[in-house]
């Protein structure tokens, strides 16, 4: 259908959105078609139960996949027999639900098991232009491919299972352009921490962010996924990056990527997706990449970040009373004082992994820093690859040996200590340098204190026993 509007310049988001509108009834949310639903053990059981109670079936099992990640222990012994009976029941419930409704499951013993947001791209399920949902807020990760991907609650999981659609109000668009060259030692994680620090944890509420600019284009797919992953920490519905040659090179040859003539057709379609010149966004922000530094979070919200060279901020500097109280509460919980240099903060634990930083490139980056060093005697450090495929690749490259020689534990894939729904938990008062995405109170265990950093910064902190400015690190090998 041609209309005068059809030639107006469009954003990447608008193109994907329009391609998926089933019906847009006046005065109601748009019914949006969903190309792929990812499922895991924690947010799906009540959805399947709802289907059974209503006598409904899964409309498109071929547009669903499932895996186990949140609850699974990350030790081999722990996985053989899961001692937490409630967790074990949740996992066996997913198994039964997938069998009953005909959904492909990558179970705990599958060579394709892993964190749901890591295996989707690895298997070539995640592709440009698709709509992808999951009962998990970090679904935004898949937006790195130019997909519209967002998290949702369990009622919505059920809705997508039953109808392969989701009623959605159209979000606003927000382009964040990161221009210039990243300084050495500054990573994708630092870009997104800087953005959240600048706009706040509700800075993009109601928006889909498009990340653009030369610094974003220069990133690998792994780096782009790290950035889109944490869109939710800025309050956004989703984050997206336009597909390009980097995207196609990543996807080519993956299990569920198109093959042969279908590949050429797909690339032709994908190439039409990037935002047209002159397309308008509801909001814009430009960031100079050359001014970015390595960041460390100091508080209990992902917006509470500061450059590694800075000191812990003074609550007196807060802009209002509620913020001041929030700062004081955060410092009290974190057990640190205003004015403390961030690189003087001693740590007890290190966690390298998660859907934010559990991909092969993250493993390589951390190993490069750790090679030839030893983990500090007062630190316990673990590396948890995001998937079986990441683990296999890392082992083929000898990264596991580098970590183990340095004194890191090398674990089995899963969400692990990012949310500590499994045996990987901080003890009260323990302080952790973590490559994950949330530093909320108790996120990694009740009373645990989380500082968010890049994989390089986490590896260096493990060795030094405190945070260090990675730009001054001497790489040994």
């Amino acid at each position: 259908m041609k209309s005068p509007m059809s030639s107006a310049p469009k954003t990447l988001f608008e193109k994907v959105w329009e391609q998926h509108v089933v019906v847009a009834p006046a005065g109601e949310p748009t019914v949006l078609y969903i190309d792929l639903q990812l499922l895991h053990e924690v947010t799906s059981p009540q959805a399947f139960e709802g289907l059974r109670l209503a006598g409904r079936k899964v409309r498109r099992p071929d547009r669903c996949i499932a895996t186990v990640d949140h609850n699974v222990p990350t030790t081999i012994e722990g996985r053989i027999k899961i001692v937490d009976q409630i967790a074990a029941k949740q996992i066996s419930t997913l198994r039964k639900n997938c069998a009953d409704f005909g959904i492909e499951l990558f179970d705990v013993d599958s060579p394709d098991q892993g964190i749901v947001h890591i295996i989707g791209p690895e298997l070539g399920l995640t592709k440009p232009g698709m709509t992808i949902v999951c009962g998990d807020s970090h679904t935004a990760t898949h937006g790195a491919f130019g997909a519209l991907a967002f998290g949702m609650g369990t009622s919505e999981v059920e809705h997508v299972l039953a109808t392969q659609t989701l009623p959605q109000s159209k979000p606003k668009t927000f382009r964040i352009t990161v221009e210039g060259e990243l300084p050495r030692g500054v990573t994708a994680k630092d870009i997104i921490l800087a953005i959240i620090g600048q706009i706040g944890t509700d800075g993009a509420t109601g928006c889909v962010i498009e990340y653009a600019g030369s610094a974003i284009r220069a990133l690998s797919m792994e780096g782009r996924m790290t950035i889109c992953n944490m869109s939710i920490e800025a309050g956004a519905r989703a984050g997206m990056i336009a597909p390009d040659e980097v995207t196609y090179a990543y996807l080519k040859g993956r299990r569920y990527s198109p093959k042969g003539a279908a590949w050429d057709e797909a690339v032709a379609e994908w190439s039409k997706l990037p935002t047209d010149p002159g397309a308008r966004f509801d909001r814009e922000l430009v960031i100079d990449a050359s001014e970015l530094v390595p960041y460390v979070s100091w508080g209990t919200s992902p917006g509470m970040v500061a450059p590694i060279t800075a000191t812990v901020p003074d609550p007196a500097a807060a802009s209002n009373e509620q913020e001041r109280k929030g700062f004081e509460r955060a410092l009290d919980y974190m057990g640190i004082k205003a004015g403390t240099p961030l690189d003087a903060i001693l740590i007890d634990r290190v966690f390298i992994g998660s859907c934010t930083n559990g991909r092969i490139e993250d493993m390589r980056a951390a190993a490069r820093i750790a090679a030839g060093y030893k983990v500090s005697s007062h630190v316990s450090a673990m590396v948890v690859p995001g998937s079986q495929a990441v683990k296999k690749q890392a082992e083929a490259e000898g990264l596991d040996r580098i970590f183990k020689e340095a004194g890191f534990e090398w674990r089995e894939p899963g969400c692990s200590m990012c949310l500590a729904m499994n045996p990987d938990v901080l003890s009260p008062g323990e302080r952790c340098a973590s490559t994950s995405n949330r530093n909320f109170e108790g996120r990694q265990g009740r009373g645990g204190r989380t500082h968010l950093v890049s994989p390089e910064m986490a590896a260096a902190a493990a060795i030094a026993g405190h945070f260090v400015d990675i730009r001054t690190w001497e790489v040994k090998r």
Partner: protein, 203 residues
């Protein structure tokens, strides 16, 4: 879903911004496969100290707020994880309304699916209500969804915006899947055509 029209209740003040869903319902309670029974775990780590005893300084442990069905909170309420368990916990505990300057997007959707009315007022208005609820004995608010107003007996009146369709669903207590399936013929036609686009196939 229980229909909602008007509610008068004690209002509990939770004077914190950026309350995240990890606080509303900590992860250890997400392993259950049921949809009910989360009320006792609401704000668990704030309600109970490390020894498992009630923390008397936390607002919901203050007997003045027993039976409160309205919660007043700071901006960006329920940010973080998408867990609908947060909405289930609030609802199971007895809350039917949350008043705050802003809410996180996913929670906004989850709350609606569980009959929880989210009322957005200005920071100034919310601060006034927080203050009243903290300082006045037996402070009650009336929330009318039909009128889109929040009032008290002392003369406070505020109106709030709500999407008309969301309002309709909350008042009628409507099931979402049923609503979507009104469009099943359109969905069948769309899907048949959409499936022809090989580049949008999942597998």
């Amino acid at each position: 879903m229980e229909p909602f029209r008007t509610l008068t209740s004690i209002a509990a003040p939770l004077d914190r911004a950026n309350v995240d869903t990890d606080q509303i319902i900590p992860k250890q309670f997400l392993k259950r496969i049921e949809r009910t029974g989360y009320g006792e775990f609401l704000f668990f780590d704030w309600r109970k100290n490390a020894a498992g005893q009630p923390d008397s300084t936390f607002v919901l442990n203050d007997p003045r707020y027993n039976g409160a069905q309205i919660l007043i909170a700071g901006k960006n309420f329920a940010c973080g994880s998408s867990r609908e368990h947060a909405a289930w916990a609030l609802s199971n505990y007895g809350f039917r309304v949350v008043i705050a300057p802003s809410f996180a997007d996913i929670f906004f959707s989850n709350a609606g699916k569980n009959g929880i009315v989210l009322v957005r007022l200005s920071e100034e208005q919310v601060n006034k209500l927080l203050n009243n609820a903290k300082t006045l004995a037996n402070y009650q608010l009336t929330v009318s969804l039909e009128e889109q107003t929040v009032t008290d007996s002392l003369g406070f009146t505020a109106s709030f915006e709500i999407d008309p369709f969301r309002k309709f669903c909350l008042i009628e207590g409507l099931d979402d899947i049923g609503l979507t399936l009104r469009h099943e013929a359109a969905l069948d036609a769309f899907e048949a055509k959409h499936d022809q686009a090989g580049w949008l196939k999942a597998k």
